[in-house]
């Protein structure tokens, strides 16, 4: 069973013993041993239907497979890494924030609601489900915020990483405070979460 450990906070070590993991294309910085890398084609990962969905929705999840015997060192742009263990549940995550996952987990695309028409972001996020470990990226140490019926949460979409639990996501528009003109192309909307669960954010804007 592939094992994830961290070497510091920005490097993920995947220990392979004759098995494989899926990881973000281009995220390998070093490796030892006999490891082969293969980019996922249409049939890889979440299955054909999922790959088709991605093609249609424009949601991109660019993954490769690392297999063999050895250690693979994964990192991405010096961002922090969090190892998340899923116990037969679903984690919804920004696809650009998914670094690696065990084979026992399944990925899919979920419709996330209508965002602003001119938004550069897709209308979908990646879901990871099953039992096993995955590693997600956070620009700065990740912050976990609880959502409950007593306290819904509003989040800057550029800081949003992932959520789990029974949550309903909606959009808050018409906010004038979001960005300084010309500095970032951020859309003037934010994400609102109601229900029960946890939202993960990074202390930075994408």
């Amino acid at each position: 069973m592939a094992r994830f450990t961290k070497n510091g906070t920005k490097v993920l070590e995947a220990h392979l013993t004759g098995d494989s993991i899926r990881c973000l294309t281009g995220s390998m910085v070093a490796y030892e041993g006999n490891v082969a890398f293969k980019k996922e084609g249409m049939g890889g990962g979440g299955g054909f239907k999922s790959a088709m969905k991605r093609k249609l929705t424009g949601e991109s999840l660019s993954m490769m497979e690392a297999s063999g015997n050895g250690v693979v060192y994964l990192a991405n742009n010096a961002t922090e890494i969090e190892i998340v263990e899923l116990q037969n549940e679903t984690l919804s995550v920004e696809s650009s924030a998914l670094l690696a996952l065990e084979r026992s987990l399944r990925t899919d695309v979920a419709f996330a609601g209508l965002r602003g028409a001119s938004s550069g972001q897709g209308l979908f996020t990646t879901t990871v489900s099953g039992q096993g470990e995955c590693a997600i990226l956070s620009d700065g140490p990740m912050i976990a915020l609880e959502v409950s019926p007593a306290y819904p949460l509003v989040v800057d979409p550029d800081a949003f990483i992932a959520h789990r639990g029974q949550l309903k996501q909606s959009f808050v528009t018409g906010v004038s405070w979001k960005s300084i003109l010309g500095q970032d192309g951020g859309e003037p909307y934010s994400l609102r979460f109601d229900g029960s669960g946890v939202v993960y954010i990074q202390p930075a804007e994408r």
Binding site: K178, V198, A204
Partner: protein, 248 residues
């Protein structure tokens, strides 16, 4: 699983959540830089400075027309989490004092403080008593005068007089003499330093690649009215040199 799950009751009260994020309690209004908010609980009203009910308070506290567009006033009930580009965020308390800080690194401040524009372009001065939040690329370092500082490492200063420019003669001699005046790599800016003297504290950071501050260009533009034809031609050639040297 790390990290600890927080909620409005467990979030820190006007304190850091981690070195790169800060939680502000809205029990009183705060001035906040646009884009600084990354999450909030409760009912937070973010209002542009011209449009708020708190207009008279704003007018008394925020005297910087150059930057007014970049700020909002936040009021209501709840907790606001602030982050900035993954930079370190620290809160500072001013006690009947003054502090001048680089505008692009100031994220928020309590309404007990008054904000003015500094004579040094790109810097703002806070006066009075209250808390403010500033971000930095890496942890802030403090030094006491006398100290010489690279302009791009300067984050701000407290209590001591504004810095003066210092040109390192030995530095210049080595290059200009040999090159017959050709300015080689002077964009590093090391030849020009800020010189601090007096009693106070200087705030410094590693970053030598400052975040673009559109207000600096606006400030420079407004000063062009006093420049004559010869001066304008000279400025034009300097700008062209800078544009060329900035090409990747």
């Amino acid at each position: 699983m790390t990290p600890t799950i927080l909620n409005p009751n467990t979030l820190p009260y006007n304190d850091n959540v981690n070195p790169y994020a800060f939680c502000v309690d809205l029990s009183q209004p705060w001035f906040m830089r646009k884009g600084a908010m990354i999450a909030y609980y409760g009912t937070a009203n973010f209002e542009a400075l011209g449009v708020t009910n708190l207009a008279s308070m704003v007018a008394a506290r925020f005297s910087s027309p150059l930057y007014a567009n970049d700020w909002v006033v936040v009021s209501g009930q709840g907790k606001v989490v602030i982050g900035d580009r993954g930079y370190d965020i620290n809160s500072y308390d001013i006690d009947a004092g003054n502090l001048t800080i680089k505008a692009s690194n100031l994220l928020g401040f309590e309404t007990g403080l008054e904000l003015k524009q500094s004579i040094v372009p790109g810097f703002l001065t806070l006066i009075g008593t209250g808390k403010f939040l500033a971000s930095s690329n890496g942890p802030v370092m403090f030094a006491e005068p006398p100290v010489r500082v690279d302009p791009e490492a300067l984050l701000g200063w407290a209590d001591c007089p504004s810095p003066s420019h210092h040109y390192d003669a030995g530095w210049m001699q080595g290059f200009l003499g040999a090159m017959g005046g050709m300015v080689l790599g002077l964009q590093s800016g090391e030849e020009r330093q800020f010189d601090f003297t007096g009693e106070g504290t200087v705030l410094l950071q590693s970053s030598e690649e400052p975040r673009p501050d559109p207000a600096i260009a606006r400030a420079l533009e407004s000063q062009l009215y006093g420049v004559d034809h010869a001066g304008l031609t000279r400025i034009q050639s300097v700008v062209q040199q800078r544009l060329m040297s900035q090409q990747p």
